[in-house]
Subunit: 116 residues, 2 copies
Amino acid sequence: MKSEDQQARRAGELLPQPDVAEIDLVKVMHALGDSTRMHLFRTFAETGLQCDCSSERLGLSHLHKSTVSHHLRILRESGLTSTWAVGRNRYVELRRDDLESRFPGLVEVLLSSGTA
Amino acid sequence: MKSEDQQARRAGELLPQPDVAEIDLVKVMHALGDSTRMHLFRTFAETGLQCDCSSERLGLSHLHKSTVSHHLRILRESGLTSTWAVGRNRYVELRRDDLESRFPGLVEVLLSSGTA
DNA sequence: GATACAGTTTGAGGTGCGTCAAACAATAGA
DNA sequence: TCTATTGTTTGACGCACCTCAAACTGTATC
């Protein structure tokens, strides 16, 4: 994670998300049971932190921006991601540590599974 | 697995299921993104092999038998389970080895995650 | 202040899902 | 053969979901 991103994140506002203890495995499975959201999950896992959540930037240029916003919300509400509002942008991050403490090994297993 | 169960399984007919290489992670996630099917997943993981798939036997006495049949079909078609038809009964088994070779560690991670 | 921009919210349309009930197929047992 | 049993299939209903379009909120820039 780049340091300017970290600063921007601290300056932003954290959007509502479930506490670690409240993250539900079935909800997480449901969130990942959609190819678009699985793509976003892998993208955030790779990039670490992401600003400018435009459809093009996220590799979803075939989807309307409101649709992308919808999927990002589901990811956040399931507990998979954190989102900070900074100005007009959104910073989205995978909740790696939280997920690791709640479901040890899950993220690693999902990422190392072939994308096919 | 009890030996009489093994014999019954061999005598039965294997219902259609995807090949190992065709098991799709998103479809698996979707199958587990339902509390009833997550319950069945854990049940089959514990019991190893299960005959008499009645609602009561599976801890789903609140659901109609056709609904249970529906969920078992989705689990099978996603690649999570194998089902053998033996007489009037169905033997359902978690495809542990197949899942392990396709998504190493996934089953273990899911089972060790708290049921909450 | 006026304009442009990033993202959200709302409403609508189409589709799929979970559930039940009834009909059906196939087997076991009398 | 007749009946009971086990599980599947079909159709229906209500609900949730995915998608887009339009309106909206809030921010940055001129």
